[in-house]
Amino acid sequence: MSAPPTPCGALRNAAGSVVLLLVFAGCATWTAPTNIDDAPLRERAVTAARGDVQVSAAVLGSEDSKRMLGADIIKANVQPLWIEVQNRTSQPLWLLHSGTDPDYFSPLEVAWSMHTLLGGRTNASIDDHLSKLGFRNPIPAGETRAGMLFTNPDRDPKLVNIDLFGSRTLIPFSLFVRVPDDVPNPRFTLTLFNYPETEIVDCHDLASLRAALERLPCCATDSHSRTGADPLNVVVVGSLGDIGAALVRRSYRRNLRDGDLEQSVFGRKPDVVLRKEAQGGAPATSIRGWLAPIRFNGDLVYVAQVGRPVGGRFAQGGTTGDVLHENVDEARNFLIQDMMYSGGLDKLGFVNGVGPAPEARPRTTLNDALYHTDGLRAVMFFATRPLSFTNVEILDWVPYLDQRESASSAENGDADK
């Protein structure tokens, strides 16, 4: 068993792996599409315009996929997205695929998954067909281009971020697009909550915003308002599109699970839940957001919980459920760092409001999980204007310090020599 494998063994293993691959690859059977008319997609597409550019987007359902692509690739966990761009500007534009889904699939990658072992000619037709359907850059000045992007699956409605890129130009769009065939469950639908205007406090300066944010509740409660739930340790300020674009660019997707419905703020379940899934679908950081009855110069203000389930990427399937990991500050701080690379973060600050819970006296949340925190709430402001991390302004609010360190620095000289 411990003997070094011979090249022969390598060959056998490799051959075995190839056979296995072919067996799996053979799952989606391809039949030459007869009708690739995009009229049905066009009909239900969501459209938006900005300046001289108009975009439309629609998600394909299983029926569309069979009809247009020749197989139901949704079963293979690929969500085809039809996009049309009308470029009436005077320069060519590029649709940045990574902005729509950083882990998208190339057309021939999808085609390859439908190949069969001895299907030489058929395989070539599949390749040919999918490359023709793929969205091709650039979109020349004055022209209209339409095509497919092969994305990872999202629930209904899908937040479609479209970054159109030209010389010294970025024209971003964020659309909410219906996902056909998504299991209709009213509990999981996205509620774009609206407050009556009279309930909304519109803050016009940072000081009054800070005061309003510090008055928000520390934590969610369970759905019966009986016990405390996860802390509200993040606030995001901006338009829904700008916030969504930043998150999508860093691989956050809408992903609501049953456990999320237990968390309640302002007397309701989360308005939106996002998760950044690790490779292979392992659980990772979640963000649950509620629209707050606060506006900042007209911008929306969401209060949110950021945390990571116990086990993270190393959890074994189904063993841990969605139990909150105790170190919620770590998850919060790394979300901020992730957003630094999103191109959408404009300002960052920390406010009080969660209330400190030192490690020695942790607080309890749902499932009897414990957590500890420095008690700060991170406030992130998002903008449409693309920004690099050199542009992020750090507000002079509560200075961020590692609270844990003040307690432990005496015993640990390494981190703070």
Partner: protein, 430 residues
Amino acid sequence: MNGIVNRRLAIVVVALFLSGCATATSTVGGLSYRGRAVTRTDGGLRVSVAVLSAEESVAVYGAPLAKKGIQPVWIEISNDGTLSYFLMSPGLDPNFFPASEASEAFTKGESSSGSDGLDTRFRDLAFRNPILPGQTRSGFVLTHLNEGAKLVQLDLVASAHATTFSILMVVPGFHADYHVSEVFRREIYPANEIVDYNDDDAFRVALEALPCCATNADGSKNGDPLNLVVVGGLDDAFPALVRRGWSPTEQKWSGAIMRMVTSALSGDRYVNAPVSDLYLYGRAQDLALQKARDNIHQRNHLRLWLSPIRYRSKPVWVGQISRDIGTRLTFHSPTFTTHKIDPDVDEARRALTEDMAYSQNLTRIGLVNGVGAARQDAPNENLTTDPYYTDGYRQVLVFDRRPTSLSEIEFFRWEVRAKPSGNLPAGAEQ
């Protein structure tokens, strides 16, 4: 003219020298990694970095991190400036491991009381933000394991300000035979061979005159098309690649091939799959990089060669990029398994360009001729007989150390002649 390049190369030589020493004297325990740390300064910031070997990880963390694909990077930062800085872990590795998550890799199934010790240990070792004026901080960031070489990218952010450092290092203890290209040790081109272009049109002519393809070792057979030109070096181009998840890959036959086969069987994500050698300028690639995706079947590869061309004093690398869409058996590569590439090689080229737009270091892009078009119905073949077709263009990406936002990236004024097109242009080669 070459002052900047020389400075960079000197820094790398120090890095290689120091890590070479450590490999030779590798002793477990103690703080030997600090002794070989590479130090750089900029303004009021001084950073020191060392990548831990598998043995050092065990000694420091009390857990075999390398077995879980985790590699600790030790970082010390002294701040003599007036601003407070934050070190961004996703800059080192967009899929880095938070300390608490890494500790859970070793505490599965244990009661919370049993795992407390390890959890606390991991947390105490982690790098902590912020770095206040006058302060020195040190700690670890846990990244995905790289064997051979590692690009360490430190992005330090302050209010409306950032300072970045990029260090290419050899990882001690994994493979003593890791091949480090000469270009990272010294200037390999005689001064009279180096041509620095300031004029964009002359630069384009030089790029279009480059050979179409990489070749096999004796240059008798053409391999993959050279469809990429990267302008910039350690300080500007490589950070962009690291931030978007690219990492150096093994280049030689080694035990890695066996693990790759196992990985292909299990569908695991295996970050260090080797690539086979391709040749240009009479030598194998100077640097091979890959971006691992879900598993071994899906990864993008790029190979780079340093050319004797400079653009506005920046080094110019000529390269090849392809998207792997599966692992398959071949008899045309000495490693038996190879990667089935996406025959639409332009797709990989476009994907890299788009991905780099989000890297914050891309400043200019353009297309030049030089690859030679190959139509879909009459594809070319690479050395492992994978067919490919292309519009014949070569993508030029210019990077700069100063971060550039998405809306500031500029296009070369070449597109009038080399107009990119979605469909294969009949006269792409003209």
